[in-house]
Assembly symmetry: none
Homo-oligomer: 142 residues x 2
Amino acid sequence: MAKRPANYHTRQGQRILDYMESLGGTHVTVNQIARHFEDTEEIIGQATIYRHLEKLAAGGKIRKYVLNEGKSACYQYIDAVKCRDHFHLKCEICGDLIHADCDLLDKIEKHLLCSHNFKINLLKTVFYGTCQKCLAGGAYEG
Amino acid sequence: MAKRPANYHTRQGQRILDYMESLGGTHVTVNQIARHFEDTEEIIGQATIYRHLEKLAAGGKIRKYVLNEGKSACYQYIDAVKCRDHFHLKCEICGDLIHADCDLLDKIEKHLLCSHNFKINLLKTVFYGTCQKCLAGGAYEG
DNA sequence: TTGCGTGCAAAGGTTTTGCATGGCA
DNA sequence: TGCCATGCAAAACCTTTGCACGCAA
């Protein structure tokens, strides 16, 4: 009954995944991705990029971030295996992604499950805030 | 140099503030607010609602949540007395947004700040996962 | 009277969707 | 061959902005 997408292997899907991997963890917007393929003269429609990013994010290959409200979302390649058991802190100012690995996580996970009956998905959950550097530096853009 | 708005007292501004207060801390979107005034046959333009919400948020009367990039923001009246923070649990299956209000939040907040030097932004952070209903029912919509 | 606040409509931007076609399995 | 994926364009969506008029001070 659950309609499962076939997930064909296509040139476009491969190119997009390759590109995300090649960035080594840097985040990019859809616009930047689109421009990249324009530059390399690969024709990949914007809708296709969106569709693939959505799939990749759902599958845990990449992660989607929303740094500015009206602005476009950012996507970043992650290692789904390594990132399964720690949580992620995304700095809204510098954009850094911090992989936090500590036992608070267990507590949160258990508490949400026991007290709120909520099973958290760590692949998708991101804590937004301000990182050490930006807290200290007090670097505010105009 | 800072151009300070005069902040006239107007019917619209009062009505919007009244309405936000009357909700007692519940979230609403701009759309819900607009519909409310349509229902009560108060003519208040959408732009006016946005402008007032922005002012109220800037003045600390209400709080703005940006939970999803393309989706509309949520606004919540802040009661000076019971100005409780809470966190958000978003069910990936049914889409429900749960407002969880418990003291685990304080622990998380403090821990992230003390141990990870990370100041979490609760207005933006959302915990993704599976809610009680969907865990139990296993109800998948086609 | 002054000039801010308002309402309407249009613009701006990002993301989604419809549909005919092409490509993967 | 069947069906998904693609590309193009248009639509949908939220939010901001421009402008003339009304209303608070």
